[in-house]
């Protein structure tokens, strides 16, 4: 249990060899203690590649106040990047556009 309790780890089974995140692990000793039965469920990202992938979802809205004629532009959304610097760079690009 100590080794399972972590952010992620490398799971190898035959040709399967990946870094995965354990979602659930359980172990149960049989009544006559002749076997310890366990189950493990883990997940991982297939796309995008977590080390290089960038995801940007955004929405641009234009609002005009009918009385004052003031026009405002709002930008909202979500940026997923490998690190904060890359995320800020993407944000700056979006804002500039």
């Amino acid at each position: 249990m100590t080794e399972i309790n972590g952010k992620d780890g490398q799971l190898v089974y035959g040709a399967f060899d990946r870094t995965v995140r354990v979602e659930e692990f359980s172990a149960e000793a049989s009544a006559d203690m002749d076997a310890l039965n366990w189950t493990l469920t883990a997940s991982y990202s297939r796309y995008p590649d977590e080390s290089t992938g960038i995801l940007a979802e955004y929405e641009v809205q234009t609002n005009e106040d009918a009385q004052t004629g003031q026009v405002s532009l709002s930008l909202s959304g979500r940026i997923v990047a490998p690190d904060a610097a890359t995320a800020h760079s993407i944000y700056a690009t979006l804002k500039g556009a």
Binding site: G6, G14, W38, S43, S45, P48
Partner: protein
């Protein structure tokens, strides 16, 4: 045939007949490496009356009240020892054949245990927890893997477009760490407690 259960010589209480054994591999075993074994014997009592037989049967039943003990099976003709291990006593019968034969009574006994071969080759899995370098976690072997399944799921920006916002994989495994069943239950329980306390 001489049979001791919990150090009680059953063969001195009556006459032992049989010794039929049955091996039933566990249904989910990936190899015939784990089987429940049963040994069936009849213990005949031939005394002058039902009461005298009853005394012998009760003596046998008293010995069988211990649900798990060492069973020793020796061929007295050759002195070969066929069995000397901890077993569990299963259901047993005292049949009545309805013939009124009170001078001949018998009980049918069943002993059970697990046999498993830990050396049989099977596919295992390994796990190594991620740590911040330069620390490296130990690689754990997850024993015998009996089931492996893999899944895929994807999310799309629009149900009308192919572009994916992400795709995930999911794996499920089930397996077993097999104990040494030649060791008594108390030893296996102690080993299990040690592994729990060490995490």
């Amino acid at each position: 045939m001489q049979l001791w259960y919990n150090n009680v010589p059953l063969h001195s209480l009556g006459t032992i007949e049989g010794g039929g054994q049955h091996w039933a591999p566990d249904p989910d075993a990936t190899a015939p490496q784990r089987a429940k074994v049963t040994l069936k014997v009849r213990l005949h009592f031939i005394q002058i009356s039902f009461g005298a037989n009853r005394v012998q049967v009760d003596a046998a039943r008293a010995a069988l009240r211990v649900p798990r003990a060492i069973l020793r099976w020796v061929n007295e003709a050759t002195s070969a020892e066929y069995l000397n291990r901890e077993v569990a006593i299963g259901a047993y019968d005292w049949p009545d054949d309805g013939k009124g034969n009170t001078r001949h009574q018998w009980i049918v006994l069943e002993f059970a245990w697990h046999e498993q071969d830990k050396t049989v080759p099977y596919l295992t899995a390994t796990w190594r927890r991620s740590m911040s370098p330069p620390a490296v976690a130990p690689q754990l072997t997850l024993g015998n893997v009996s089931r492996f399944s893999e899944g895929y799921s994807a999310a799309r920006y629009s149900p009308l477009r192919s572009a994916r916002s992400g795709a995930n994989g999911r794996v499920s495994l089930a397996g077993q760490f097999l104990a040494d069943t030649t060791k008594p239950l108390a030893d296996r329980a102690a080993a299990w407690s040690r592994s729990k306390s060490s995490g």
